[in-house]
Symmetry: C2
Subunit: 140 residues, 2 copies
Amino acid sequence: MNRNVYFAGSIRGGRADAALYQKIIAYIQKTDDVLTEHVGNLSLNAHEQGRRDQLIYEQDTGWLRRADVVIAECTCPSLGVGYELAYAERFGIPCHIFYRHSQTDLSAMLTGDTYFHIHPYEKLEEILPLLDEILGNRQA
Amino acid sequence: MNRNVYFAGSIRGGRADAALYQKIIAYIQKTDDVLTEHVGNLSLNAHEQGRRDQLIYEQDTGWLRRADVVIAECTCPSLGVGYELAYAERFGIPCHIFYRHSQTDLSAMLTGDTYFHIHPYEKLEEILPLLDEILGNRQA
């Protein structure tokens, strides 16, 4: 309950999964806090330069360092998400990676790194009980 | 001359730029050593699981730690390249990032990170003199 969750999903790498990110974020928000709620904002303009990039970087890495856990949806390749995962590992933040295995082969830099918890899935419904378990919200 | 160069480019994220990677690698190899020559191999099967992922990870991170410099082509989004760049930063390896600015908006996690040297470009010919300069091979 009320853990700080850093949700990582593709922004400039492509917004094909934005609606899925929104659903995952909404589910987590039932019990916990999502620092990166904007990743699921369907009207987020990936090309918007409103927040200067250095400010985005400083804010996001600050959030990463104080996160209790990182939840990453990695079906859509993204340089930023790859960076965030390595950064979180550096600071010892637990990382859970989800990807639809029928649609993508995940990078060996992630699947080969024993630090990460990797969860292949196909449908959103499969994720939800795993999220409960990761966040410690599963009913006994 | 004979510097150890880690060239980073997308493999499982997509091979659209594989021929470009090959040309950049061949250019660097005229004067220096490229640890990751396979990234430019046009017959590399991105889905091949021949090398087990954990072995790939151990080998690539080992190469990163002993590289003199990382040269990354980042036009095609890639989780692995994002991871590699953060990993190289952690170990203090200089990183030069190239991307075609008419084709992609680079992640703010890269453009906003003052550690990285970012080089937008359009044509291969623009890269070559920059590579000479980075590698210290420019004629006085």
